[in-house]
């Protein structure tokens, strides 16, 4: 299933399935994008990043896709595990009025065992 990151929507997936979390970013001049995972009671934790000269980057079980034409970013998690349950944020870096990281609204991922 898919979800657009506004007003903290929730994405519920079965353990073992793949998850796709989507994000629309705001500034066409942004050149660096990051996905963070935030578990309850913790700070955001870096997962994966991508620069604007790429459209895909893979990590361990995670893939980030960047579509600059429509200002869209997605995070794919393969074989989702209960430990992946968290709030996921996309973030963009832009240089408007100083280098600044702007966070999206977040998506809560709930993994059913």
């Amino acid at each position: 299933g898919e979800s657009v990151g506004l007003h903290l929507p929730t994405l519920s997936v079965q353990e073992g399935d793949n998850s796709i979390i989507n994000c629309a970013y705001s500034n066409s001049a942004s050149d660096y994008f990051i996905w963070y995972k935030q578990e309850s009671g913790k700070g955001p934790q870096f997962i994966i990043d991508i620069r604007s000269n790429m459209d895909k980057r893979q990590g361990q079980r995670v893939t980030v896709l960047l579509n600059k034409t429509v200002k869209h970013l997605s995070l794919q998690i393969a074989a989702t595990q209960p430990g992946d349950s968290a709030v996921y944020f996309c973030a963009e870096n832009s240089n408007t009025g100083g280098f600044k990281t702007i966070f999206g609204a977040g998506t809560r991922l709930f993994v059913k065992a």
Binding site: H7, L8, D31, Y32, I34, Y36, Q38, G41, K42, G43, P44, Q45, F46, D49, R51, V87, F89, N93, N95, G97, G98, F99, K100, T101, I102, F103, A105, G106
Partner: protein, 113 residues
């Protein structure tokens, strides 16, 4: 071996009081940040410092005053606390101002009575 540590973890106080939150990072980073996360999980940058110099101040009320005694520390002092200041405050650090992931502390939950 905590990378970014902030104290206290919880802060409960009355309206009108003055309080401080401390942050230290042992990653050798030169840039530090303060973020505010509201009850809807929205994360917003407040301040960023590079090598002890203020580089971003996101229209935060003057009651909030960051202080960076050295590049490993960025403390946040808040005067005349208001009900709307209730939130979770996160400190973060990165190497350089741009195009690098940020490392976050575990947050300080501030509750104003």
């Amino acid at each position: 071996d905590t990378a970014v540590s902030q104290t206290p973890k919880y802060l409960v106080t009355q309206m009108g009081n003055d309080k401080s939150i401390k942050c230290e990072q042992n990653l050798g980073h030169d840039t530090m940040y303060w973020y505010k996360q509201d009850s809807k999980k929205f994360l917003k940058i407040m301040f960023s410092y590079n090598n002890k110099e203020l580089i971003i101040n996101e229209t935060v009320p003057n009651r909030f005053s960051p202080k960076s005694p050295d590049k490993a520390h960025l403390n946040l002092h808040i005067n005349s606390l208001e009900l709307g200041d209730s939130a979770v405050y996160f400190c973060a650090s990165s190497q350089g101002e741009s195009n690098q992931p940020q490392h976050f502390g575990d947050g300080t939950r501030l509750s104003i009575l």
